[in-house]
Amino acid sequence: MDIKINLADGVPLYKQIVNQIRYMVASGVLAVGDELPPIRALALQIKVTPNTIVKAYDELQAAGVLVKRHGSGTFVSDVGPSRLATRERRRIIEERIDALLTEARHLNVSLDDLFNAIRRRHALIAAKTGMDKASGEE
């Protein structure tokens, strides 16, 4: 499992693990029923204390993302992964929007200008990926 810890951004370590596992579940990297690495193995892999992993797994279990089966291990739960996916997508996007809005306010960019800029970028990226696709198909 590819989890990256970043000490510089000030997010608690267990929270970083929680967020990344949520993201993996939302994006389908982790599917229903997949087994997560044991605590000791994950702690050795990403060099954090085992208690940090315990805390992260506990929180994910309480949120219904993971389920612990006694004696066998920790698995991705089947309790509405799609619902989770929707909620998770919204959460991630909203986080980015908040950051964008803060930046816009500092730079004195009005909301209308921001919308326009988003549409312009969208069109540009769409055209570019369209071209990429076309060149890829050739």
């Binding site: 000490l7 997010v11 370590l13 000791r40 050795l44 204390t49 085992p50 208690n51 803060t102």
Partner: protein
């Protein structure tokens, strides 16, 4: 949860200098405890008291419920220790050193020791005197963990080591805690290492405990916040809760304890505005608390 180490009101004087001044410290079973502090702050002195190598001038030290000065044998048998200088008899071979150390610990696990030697790629026929710094640290680590101690105490285990050996040491910490919930106490000047590897953080400054708490709570209670001001400032005005500030003119970055809302109110009175805030890293807290020119005394 039980406390395996309890230190109360510990003071220690070396001639005229007070190396430890009324230190209270607890280590809880199953947790990794990180000790941080500038050089000479008193980390090693505290650790030596836990091993009974130093006798308190005043205060009490209990390790596993015992006084390490009065009952060294029963404390040391259940403690693993790697000192900063990794003293070992130079003339012994690694295998001899293992056998020799084994004799002292009824719980010694030779299989585990051999497995670690293999992992580290250490040649058991080599003389201790001929080992490199890194190999010495690895050997010392094997000696410290092979009897599966209840408390593992590492004094600056990473000092002077390359990244590979540092990883070996961190792995040993994880294994010690993950297998049957033993306790680790380690001191380090590498703050990112401490932030990753400790559940509880204790900051020692000039012989006193400057900060002590669960890592997530300590980091969660400190923020790095950007402040903006309408006019240019040569000095940041006094703001409650601010431990350290950097930047200049209209834009300042401050490290502060307590919630952002409180800072927002305080900053507003000084004519400032909060633009951005995040949790502080251990290193930022450390520098803010014990670095030069901080406002720690005022806070």
């Amino acid at each position: 949860m039980t406390n395996v180490v309890e230190v109360q009101g510990l003071s220690r004087r070396f001639g005229g200098t007070l190396a430890l001044d009324g230190v209270d410290f607890c280590a809880t079973q199953g947790l990794v405890h990180g000790l941080v502090g500038v050089n000479g702050a008193g980390k090693t002195t505290l650790i030596k008291h836990l091993l009974g190598l130093l006798r308190p001038t005043s205060g009490t030290v209990r390790v596993l419920g015992l006084d390490p000065v009065r009952d060294p044998v029963n404390v040391l048998r259940r403690v693993g220790y790697l000192s900063e200088h990794r003293e070992m008899p130079e003339w012994m071979r690694v295998a001899e050193l293992l056998r020799y150390t084994q004799a002292y610990y009824p719980s010694w696990d030779m299989g585990y020791a051999r497995e670690l030697l293999d992992t580290f790629g250490l040649d058991p026929t080599k003389r201790v005197g001929g080992l490199s710094q890194g190999m010495r640290a690895q050997t010392g680590l094997v000696l410290a963990v092979a009897h599966r101690p209840d408390v593992l105490i590492l004094d600056e285990p990473s000092s002077g080591l390359d990244a590979v050996v540092r990883q070996d040491i961190l792995d040993a910490i994880v294994r010690t805690v993950a297998d049957d919930g033993r306790t680790v106490i380690f001191s380090s000047h590498l703050l990112d290492e401490v932030e990753r590897m400790s559940d509880r953080v204790t900051m020692i400054h000039r012989g006193k405990i400057a900060l002590d708490g669960m890592r997530d709570e300590v980091c969660g209670a400190h923020h790095v916040t950007q402040l903006r001001f309408a006019e240019r400032l040569d000095r940041l005005p006094q703001i409650d809760g601010v431990l350290a500030a950097s930047g200049g003119a209209r834009s300042w970055s401050v490290v502060h304890a307590g919630p952002v809302e409180r800072l927002r109110d305080a900053a507003a009175r000084a004519g400032g505005d909060v633009s951005e805030s995040r949790n502080a890293t251990l290193e930022e807290i450390f520098v803010a608390r014990v670095g030069r020119g901080t406002r720690a005394e005022a806070a």
